[in-house]
Amino acid sequence: MTEKIRIIVEEDKCYLCGGCAGVCPSLAIKVSSSKWEFFQDKCISCRICVTACPVGALEAEVVEGKS
């Protein structure tokens, strides 16, 4: 079984720059002017957003599969 993750934002670190939404291949993140949102059903567990965040505000939490 492949690993499935959930992306969590540390709100106090996040600048709402929208970069994570930009690099996400599957529109699983939406950044509005006032909030950051994650859509589990769209996430493909690639972690590109976690690595790309310029300030390290994102974290991946394993929700299914190997931990």
């Binding site: 600048y15 720059c17 929208g18 970069g19 994570c20 939404a21 930009g22 690099v23 291949p25 529109l27 939406k30 950044v31 509005s32 002017s33 590109i48 690595t51 790309a52 965040c53 310029p54 300030v55 390290g56």
Partner: protein
Amino acid sequence: MSEIMKYDVVVVGAGIAGPIVARNVAKEGYSVLLIDKKSAIGAPKQCAEGINISVFEKHDIPYDKRFINREIYGARLYSPSGYTLEMRYNKVSGVILERKVFDKMLAFYAARAGADVLPRTEATDVIREEGKIIGIKAKKEGEPIEIRADILVAADGVESTIARKAGINTYAPPHEFDSAYEYEMLIEGFDPDLIHLWFGNNVAPRGYVWVFPKDEDRANVGIGINSDNPMTAKHYLDKWLKENNIPFKKILEVNVGIIPVGGFLKELVKDNVLVVGDAARQVNPMHGGGMAEAMEAGTIASKWIVEALKEENFGLLKNYTTEWWEKDGKRLERVLRVRKVVEHLTDEDLDVFIQTLSGIDAEKIAGGRYSEVIKALLKHPKVLMSPRRIALLKELL
């Protein structure tokens, strides 16, 4: 039932490309709505704010001191071991803008030309009717609205939400983005008439650290690194400041963003939807600047929007793709090729190249006569002795 608005053209995003399109189309008498999700257009900035002096005349933008912090006369490049290469002109070559004011003024020019402008209005989706896109859904200060328009312009930045909702594949691999982090801060000891760039694999992997002076003692001090790097951009910038004993406790702003630096969008138009600027990844992949590119794309896009509306033939919109690729795409593809070579340079390569270049006529480099520059490099003994360096440079010729 949400409020319904109707326009010939709706432009999503009031950065650089969006307002240029809105202004140019409104000027021809068509109805245009320009929206932006932010409450204050232009803030916060996601930019080092440097731009070439030529864009003002080229794109009919007033040279207004209200958004020009400082005039710049050239650049100084620093290699990992401290060799420097200076390109100084005897006249102003660029300016450091105040994006907060600049973007707002671009939106102002659009409004003055006849466009409607609504900040704090966020596009959430496209509206389809019988398979055709007929407008967008948005939230205006939280209230749902529908904006019906014949033509949609996605100028919504790196997130590119509207283009993607319209079914345009804007995907690029993570290596083709830069992660950027910047302080606007007080800093001393750097010639405020030049921009300063530091290179090195431990300084800024794939990218560089920049100091772009906005005052004699104030600058945008930032960094861009490959976005698939395991460390953050912030980590590298703070490390560089500490290692160079540059105090950073007088900070006026912290700016963050992701920059598309390669693999430009192939199809810039789908039916009645056009993609411009960062959303189309129209950025110089070498230095990560995208303002001039956004202006160019906006200018070409608006020309074909006006033609399409005039002739009532939306098939003409496709000419934006063709003309952009012909004019700017080809050039940027060449720049991308150079970047892909340069990103494999070792620190020693950078030292050798910058040291050698500092010895040759800087005017040649400044004048863009790159083949002569590369030929000069090829003659250097440290290059001649390395088949790998020769191969790298020949790649560039």
